[in-house]
Subunit: 216 residues, 2 copies
Amino acid sequence: MPRLRVHCFAISVDGYGAGPNQDLDNPLGAGGEALHEWVVVTRTFRQLFGQEGGTTGVDDDFAAKGFADIGAWILGRNMFGPVRGPWPDDTWKGWWGDNPPYHGPVFVLTHHPRASIAMDGGTTFHFVTDGIEAALERAAEAAGNRDIRLGGGAAAIRQYLSAGLIDEMHIAISPVLLGAGEHLFAGIDLPSLGYRCAEHVATEAATHIVIARQPG
Amino acid sequence: MPRLRVHCFAISVDGYGAGPNQDLDNPLGAGGEALHEWVVVTRTFRQLFGQEGGTTGVDDDFAAKGFADIGAWILGRNMFGPVRGPWPDDTWKGWWGDNPPYHGPVFVLTHHPRASIAMDGGTTFHFVTDGIEAALERAAEAAGNRDIRLGGGAAAIRQYLSAGLIDEMHIAISPVLLGAGEHLFAGIDLPSLGYRCAEHVATEAATHIVIARQPG
């Protein structure tokens, strides 16, 4: 059975996974870019977008683990784009251009049906309208013997976490304050859901925490 | 003018400054002890309670800074003790025995009047019933040219923070999940209050964050 994994999800010191007022100009919400400063400089991230160079070490190792053994992705709708409500047309195809960095099946959670879109580089976006468990089932089928990565955003992670469906979650606490936006953990009692802090390591740029379900 | 400083206030990865259900057996709430593992092993902390040895290095440096140039303390009532409502008698004198680790004037926030108590080692507990600003004024007078340390707990810090009265705050994020309890930052928009993350450094045991008011 494929595991559902979260990687490289960055939160602020005050717990926000994105800033407020997400829109076309601020896909991560106001101030949200600062959450990701630790990862955009890594070799893994730069390679993902066809760039050379980048840092190696702990931050890069965490970035790279997020792509190891992944057979399918799940994304929340807000992570796919700023469009709200019914899809007005087929224009919007994600934030990432013609060749998105997924290179496999991606299941997008939405309340509004839309035909699948095949992109360059092997990425296909599928739109799932019947809930998070249906999306997980479809992603599991597509992933085969590999795992599923839940890419975000905060709202999608909160739903899967509250349902106890995430097997492992790597978060990076970035040394910034956002003050408002989408809080990742508010109201979710992780120990009661069986989660514990399984690993932690810090660098100059971020504190990496791996949260996993308690064995047994 | 003395500055109001918070030091060594530990929170969990999910943002709680104390566990739920604080009582005589669990002064830090259920699971709350784990928040403080980083500090109880330091040389500074051990010396405070008359013990020898202890670790030196970054964690200890942060612990020691919390005692430098402090002329008075402010504590919330729950940090002073588990007694709620009017004081039934003068029996309760804090969690710390006859010789508390403050060695100076300590202003305890409470709604219920009580006579001051002089303890061994120079600590005197004063009980302030007319609010956080009155407590700060009295502590500032007592501190003279030195600073005031706000010891906690979370509720007292939240009040001073929301009023923009804290000048500098060192928090330690411990690698544990609490799931419930007293959340430190919920609903407080720190950047709007003028705060920013001024310093961060992590060790094996904790991620240290210094939050300060933006200059100007």
